[in-house]
């Protein structure tokens, strides 16, 4: 069997009726592949991985993989993930969310999960739009872009997810794309291995609901954009300011090693128990 076939057999659910829900050209399936390769690379057991997904096209990924999978509510995946990690710190908890999910409706949970530094990996599939509900604006829809709810062009600014998560206190923050797949595999694997809260923003095109209304000719055209308009962080940093503003840096922005909240809480319990031991 080829490596790919083997991974498919090992990690996808046989009892789930395929085909999947994704449109042709959707980036989300590539993230699924990358996630599986990263987990495989890290030699994690399927039993110890809990995939907690929000609501959106992105959230639907959870149903196909043979981990412990919890498909939660729109925007709230991180609250469930926090409970799971605190209840059982041995589990590898990965939260998978859309941009609307994580940063529009779920923005409050996201900044607090980052501030708490809970040991959860957050994968945010950023397609700059609400894919599932038909192409309305999200908190990452660029200014000027057209959407179903901004038919005359979006007037609002968009969030920079990397800056937001960094400012909120996340241990690890990185940005990848579904075009740069090897890099994405590495970013996810590193994020899952690092302690505390780690966020990976993943640029994942949605031609159906975003691209075709915003001057992209095809899904392929959107992948080309990811190739030509992004720069690895190291080379991006060398660019003059006006070039910097035009290009999207990708790579690892933060790689802290602070222990997660679940570890601190375990230590607190141990300390209290030691104090209460009769001497």
């Amino acid at each position: 069997m080829s490596d790919v076939t083997e991974l498919i057999h090992q990690y996808l659910r046989h009892n789930k009726k395929f085909p999947h829900v994704f449109c042709p050209g959707c980036g989300h399936g590539i993230v699924l592949g990358s996630l599986i390769r990263s987990v495989h690379e890290l030699a994690l057991s399927k039993d110890e991985v809990v995939l907690v997904a929000g609501i959106g096209c992105s959230g639907r990924i959870a149903v196909y993989v043979d981990f412990n999978t919890v498909h939660t509510t729109h925007g709230r995946a991180l609250t469930f993930a926090t409970g799971i990690k605190m209840a059982n710190p041995d589990l590898k908890v990965i939260a998978l969310m859309g941009d609307g999910d994580a940063f529009s409706i779920g923005g409050n949970h996201l900044i607090h999960a980052a501030r708490r530094n809970i040991g959860v990996t957050a994968l945010v599939l950023n397609n700059s739009i609400y894919g599932m509900t038909g192409g309305q604006s999200s908190a990452t829809t660029p200014k000027g872009a057209v959407s179903q709810t901004a038919p005359f062009g979006h007037l609002e600014k968009s969030f920079d997810l990397v800056k937001l998560a960094s400012a909120a206190g996340a241990n690890g923050v990185s940005r990848g794309t579904v075009f740069h797949v090897n890099m994405l595999d590495r970013l996810i694997a590193e994020a899952v291995s690092r302690p505390g809260f780690n966020l990976v923003e993943i640029m994942s095109p949605c031609f159906t609901q975003y691209g075709r209304k915003n001057k992209f000719k095809s899904a392929v055209d959107m992948f080309k954009w990811l190739k030509t308009e992004t720069s690895p962080l190291e080379s991006w940093e060398q660019l003059p300011p006006e070039e910097k503003a035009k290009r999207l840096p990708i790579g690892t922005f933060l790689a802290g090693q602070e222990p997660g909240l679940e570890v601190l809480y375990g230590n607190l319990r141990d300390d209290l128990a030691a104090k209460e031991q009769p001497r």
């Binding site: 399927k46 412990n68 709230r76 991180l78």
Partner: protein, 383 residues
């Protein structure tokens, strides 16, 4: 020094909110997530002190009540007995995840110390305004278990019961208290170890490959493995088939929703808890719950002294509505009086089942004041 085996009950002078914590710990609660709100905060604060002192206890203050519910659902899926506590505004925020817990059959306990509403309302005054929200607050058809308590001792006991029901029926359970019961200090006795039956969640005994996470069995309550124990399955708030996968097939949808109702319906006799006081020969019946039931008990005693055959049906389970008990009392009484600190939320239920059997009178108070025994006595003597 070896500690002697405790045979004498420990006596505490405690608030209802503190008694809730004692009950929760006794029932095996090891996980609490919450957001502060009067008049429930003492529950959260006491949990913050107690849980890290236990072997595996976890307390976490979340960013809001939506998050509190998310966290306890996650922890429950991971195998913990879980609780949160709140009041009206927070309870409103919890409704989305309450529905998620109904749909995914996640055991959890919500304590709602009711305040006057709507909105921020009367944070420090007693009310019973959340009875129908507890029943129907979240969207979609769903069964729910709602309990109440009338005294501090009952706060402890009903919290234990709430956990037992949650675990036994894989259902969220709401314990509705009011500010009076929550903040009054009374002498209570802590039960001896083993005195209360403690129900623990049924985990699957079959090998993982045979496990059907939402199987339609006679009992209707599937076994529930903790996340990470080798039973990998899918949990979703979408309507799902027996394997937990989303479905749009009419027969699978119907089977799921009907089972969710059946698993509670068929155990009505176990779940419906009431106390009856002098009801056997009663001609005037009072149906009450929460702190109002205590005023009612005194009023009934005074009415008896005055020669009126009064009786009290105290509801400890509010939903599923204890219909058989209300019907029986309605048949023997010429009048039923339903006093409550709202505009008539429980009397709707009483009327629904007993309007054709007897005369029903409501006694409502929404000014942040308690319903006094003399108010109820007056209603009783008017007949």
């Amino acid at each position: 020094m070896a500690t002697p085996r405790k045979t004498k009950k420990q006596v505490l002078f405690a608030q209802g909110n503190e008694a809730v914590v004692e009950g929760a710990l006794l029932a095996g609660c090891t996980f609490f997530a919450g957001y502060p709100i009067t008049p429930s905060s003492e529950i959260m604060e006491e949990m913050a002190r107690r849980l890290p002192r236990s072997e595996t206890g976890v307390f976490i203050q979340m960013e809001d009540e939506i998050a509190s519910m998310g966290a306890i659902i996650g922890a429950s899926l991971a195998g913990r007995k879980v609780m949160t506590a709140t009041s009206g505004p927070g309870f409103s925020l919890m409704q989305e995840h309450l529905g998620y817990a109904c749909m995914t059959e996640v055991p959890l306990v919500i304590v709602n110390v009711m305040r006057g509403g709507p909105s921020t309302g009367l944070p420090t005054s007693p009310a019973q305004g959340d009875v129908q929200q507890a029943r129907w607050g979240t969207h979609g058809d769903h069964p729910i278990i709602v309990l109440s308590a009338a005294s501090v001792q009952e706060c402890l006991e009903m919290t234990v019961t709430a956990f037992n029901f949650a675990e036994k029926y894989r259902s969220p359970v709401i314990l509705l208290l009011d500010e009076i019961t929550a903040h009054t200090r009374e002498k209570i006795e802590l039960p001896l170890p083993g005195e209360h039956e403690i129900f623990n969640r049924v985990v699957p005994s079959m090998p993982p490959e045979w496990y059907k996470p939402f199987e339609d069995t006679m009992r209707g309550v599937p076994s529930m493995p903790p996340l990470g124990s080798g039973y990998r399955y899918h949990v979703t708030g979408l309507t799902h088939d027996v394997m937990g996968f989303p479905t749009q097939q009419p027969d699978e949808i119907k089977a799921l929703i009907e089972r969710l109702f059946r698993k509670i319906d068929q155990f009505y006799t176990d779940i419906m808890l009431v106390d009856e006081y002098l009801t056997t020969d009663a001609e005037v019946g009072v149906v009450a719950y929460g702190s109002v039931a205590r005023s009612a008990e005194l009023a009934v005693a005074q009415a008896r002294e005055a020669g009126v055959n009064a009786g009290l049906l105290k509801l400890k389970t509010l939903f599923p509505f204890p219909r058989p008990f209300v019907e029986r009392l309605a048949r023997s009484c010429k009048t039923l009086i339903v006093p409550e600190m709202n505009m008539g939320q429980m009397s709707r239920e009483v009327k629904r089942v007993a309007a054709s059997l007897t005369h029903i009178r409501t006694l409502n108070r929404i000014d942040g004041q308690i319903i006094t025994p003399s108010q109820i006595l007056k209603a009783i003597t008017q007949g």
